[in-house]
């Protein structure tokens, strides 16, 4: 009799133990499940790919800011609010911009071009060279970005960037997107919508938004990619090519 009870007790304990173990392990197992939408998120970035962008300024329309608006929405920049008591003019100088439009005129010929400016994702990025902690880094796939866990907010990268591509977060952040984490006192800039890369998507928000077809994004190392083809076809240039940074963003028509 007592043996039967012991058997039952043992069975109960082992079933309960299994159930408890399943409760603890299951969520982890789901996380580890590489199927479905996890996509390339599980794969480390590799240098077989080099992401880059072609911008045709001849298609870029005067006064158009579609790309900028899309960038700010995609990366939660539009969620930032002016701090109470701030001077709107000063705040405008302090709020972050990952992308901006610029109109330039040739000093001699007077020829005007419109273009979007953002991080040029250099092969030899000065921002990465100067960063004391290594927070500013270049991924194997050519994307230059900031690890906001170890950025100490020294702004030396902003001093070093020849394209004025970086922004410092001057204020407290109360709303943000999980795909673009943001914190007061850290530096950030365009990262070619890196969350999309990690989700296996092929475009950037600015490219999708551009109704003029002025922006082409893709893998520069793949000779069959659209961006490689258009770069072969059309004359294009790097900004500040004299610095020999080998940028991943190339412009046509300036």
């Amino acid at each position: 009799m007592s043996q039967d009870i012991d058997q039952e007790r043992r069975q109960f304990v082992s079933v309960a133990g299994l159930a408890a173990a399943a409760t603890v392990v299951a969520p982890g197992a789901f996380l580890l499940d590489g199927s479905a939408e996890a996509g390339s998120r599980r794969e480390p970035a590799v240098d077989k790919v080099r992401y880059g962008m072609f911008i045709d300024t001849t298609k870029c329309a005067d006064g158009c800011t579609e790309c900028v608006t899309a960038c700010e929405k995609e990366n939660g920049i539009d969620l930032l609010r002016m701090p109470e008591g701030a001077d709107p003019e000063e705040w405008d100088r302090q709020r972050p911009r990952w992308m901006r439009t610029v109109k330039v005129k040739d000093r001699l010929t007077g020829r005007v071009s419109n273009l979007p400016m953002m991080c040029q994702h250099c092969e030899h990025p000065p921002c990465v060279d100067v960063c004391p902690t290594g927070a500013s880094f270049r991924r194997a796939d050519g994307i230059v970005m900031v690890d906001r866990h170890i950025c100490i907010g020294c702004r030396y990268c902003m001093m070093a960037c020849p394209y004025k591509a970086r922004s410092f977060i001057h204020e407290n952040v109360d709303q943000q997107l999980s795909i673009a984490p943001r914190g007061k006192g850290c530096v950030e800039s365009c990262n070619f919508c890196v969350h999309r890369r990690d989700n296996g998507e092929n475009t950037t928000a600015c490219q999708d938004a551009c109704s003029h077809g002025a922006i082409v994004f893709g893998d520069l190392n793949d000779s069959n990619s659209e961006v490689s083809k258009v770069l072969r076809e059309k004359d294009n240039t790097q900004l500040r090519a004299d610095l020999k940074l080998n940028t991943s963003v190339r412009y046509c028509g300036i």
């Binding site: 800011t65 701090p83 701030a86 000063e90 705040w91 100088r93 302090q94 709020r95 972050p96 911009r97 901006r100 439009t101 610029v102 109109k103 330039v104 005129k105 040739d106 000093r107 001699l108 005007v112 400016m117 000065p126 990465v128 060279d129 100067v130 960063c131 004391p132 902690t133 290594g134 170890i150 950025c151 100490i152 907010g153 020294c154 702004r155 030396y156 902003m158 001093m159 070093a160 960037c161 020849p162 394209y163 004025k164 970086r166 922004s167 410092f168 977060i169 001057h170 204020e171 407290n172 914190g183 007061k184 006192g185 850290c186 530096v187 900004l239 500040r240 004299d242 610095l243 300036i254």
Partner: protein, 405 residues
């Protein structure tokens, strides 16, 4: 040269504590300003996404440069064997450490994430001059502490020349690192010049010497200790020579810039059309910070007056702050040449439309943080001389014999 006796700073308690209380007010206000800026974020400062380093960096870099310069007096005694300076070495080492701590505090407290200092101390990017500087600054404090120990502890005296040499070489490397923060920046027109490193070294000589002279005269005056005219003349002549050397480097920097067409616009901005920056350069840095003090120090009449030497030292220091402002802020407000050969006519992010300079108006909390750093340096110095034997009892000429090496 007689044997030098050192004694703690013996001013009356009331005076001493009164002095610390005044400095304490600056420390408290500086602390509150820091809390305010860190709590709210940098939007409460005048800094923005164009001018990323403001007044705190002006103070921090000035103090760090002056720190290495303040150590020179000690080095003259040990490295160059000038016996007359040996008696001045202890204060020199103390002041160097105090100024560096003050400067570093300002630098760290202006970070966007000062709480992550531990990250900066443990995660290094070896290619960054900032990383090297972390080693150089911490190493400087350790080496000068050892150097001071070899001066003050009789049993360690035999290591004094070696420690002095290491400290002197280290200080030269340190200021090279500070100058290279700007020298290595190729992106901006005003920076990216190798001359920045030696220019910062010679600037550190001048500013460190000016601060040293003021602290020496102040502490001795309050404690009724004598300083001989002979010694003072040597010190003020050194200050004059250092200022002249800064003048030379500034001249060469701008002349070599003027030779290259690509720098003409930047030079026109600093030297002629830059408004407040041009005024600060000519009136603050060149005239008040260099020409006038040189005139005072080398004039046969005023050069002998202690009051005039004090005025000249203050002018050199003010000129030094102005110099840092022109370099740090002036170098940033001038728009970057992102599109050489073209002019930006419209921009969504303040790119210097039509060549217009960028905007920076320093805010009060930034100044208060900077002054807090100065207060830290002075407090550490005054507490140091009060509790330990840093100051010689007498620097009268018959004691130190300034005319014999």
């Amino acid at each position: 040269m007689k044997k030098i006796h050192y004694r703690e700073w013996g001013i009356e308690s009331l005076r001493y504590w009164g002095l610390l209380a005044v400095l304490g007010v600056f420390l408290a206000i500086g602390g509150l300003a820091t809390l305010y800026m860190e709590h709210e974020g940098h939007w409460v400062t005048g800094m923005n996404n164009q001018i990323v380093w403001g007044v705190p960096h002006v103070f921090a870099i000035f103090l760090i440069a002056a720190a290495s310069g303040a150590l020179n007096i000690a080095a003259f005694g040990s490295v160059f064997g000038k016996k007359v300076y040996r008696s001045l070495g202890r204060l020199s080492g103390l002041l160097a450490m105090a100024l560096l701590v003050g400067g570093l505090l300002v630098l760290v407290l202006d970070l966007g994430q000062p709480g992550r200092l531990i990250v900066a101390m443990t995660t290094y990017n070896i290619k960054s001059i900032f990383s090297w500087n972390i080693y150089l600054y911490v190493g400087f404090l350790a080496i000068v502490a050892i150097y001071l120990f070899t001066m003050m502890e009789r049993k360690a005296n035999k290591y004094y020349p070696a420690a002095g040499l290491v400290a002197f070489v280290w200080r030269l490397v340190l200021t090279t690192g500070t100058g290279s923060i700007f020298g290595f920046l190729v992106a901006r027109q005003g920076y990216g010049a190798a001359i920045m490193a030696p220019m910062f070294i010679i600037m550190s000589f001048a500013y460190g010497m000016a601060i040293y002279l003021l602290v020496l005269l102040f502490t001795f005056k309050l404690d009724d200790r004598p300083i001989g005219d002979g010694l003072l003349m040597r010190l003020k002549n050194l200050l004059g020579i250092f200022v002249a050397a800064v003048f030379y480097f500034v001249m060469i920097y701008h002349l070599s810039n003027l030779y290259g067409t690509e720098n003409h616009e930047y030079e026109a901005f600093i030297l002629r059309d830059g408004g407040i920056y041009t005024t600060l350069f000519w009136v603050g840095w060149v005239f008040l910070g260099m020409v006038l003090p040189m005139g005072i120090l080398f004039h046969p009449g005023s050069g002998r007056s202690r009051g005039a030497i004090v005025v000249a030292s203050i002018l050199v220091i003010l000129g030094g702050f102005t110099a840092m402002y022109v370099i740090v802020v002036g170098g940033q407000v001038f728009p970057m040449a992102i599109f050489p050969g073209k002019v930006i006519v419209e921009s969504g992010f303040y790119d210097g439309v039509n060549g217009q300079v960028l905007y920076y108006a320093p805010s009060l909390p930034e100044f208060l943080l900077g002054l807090g750093g100065v207060a830290v340096a002075l407090t550490a110095t005054f507490v140091g001389v009060r509790v330990l034997k840093f100051l010689p009892e007498s620097l009268a000429d018959e004691v130190v014999d300034p005319h014999h090496g």
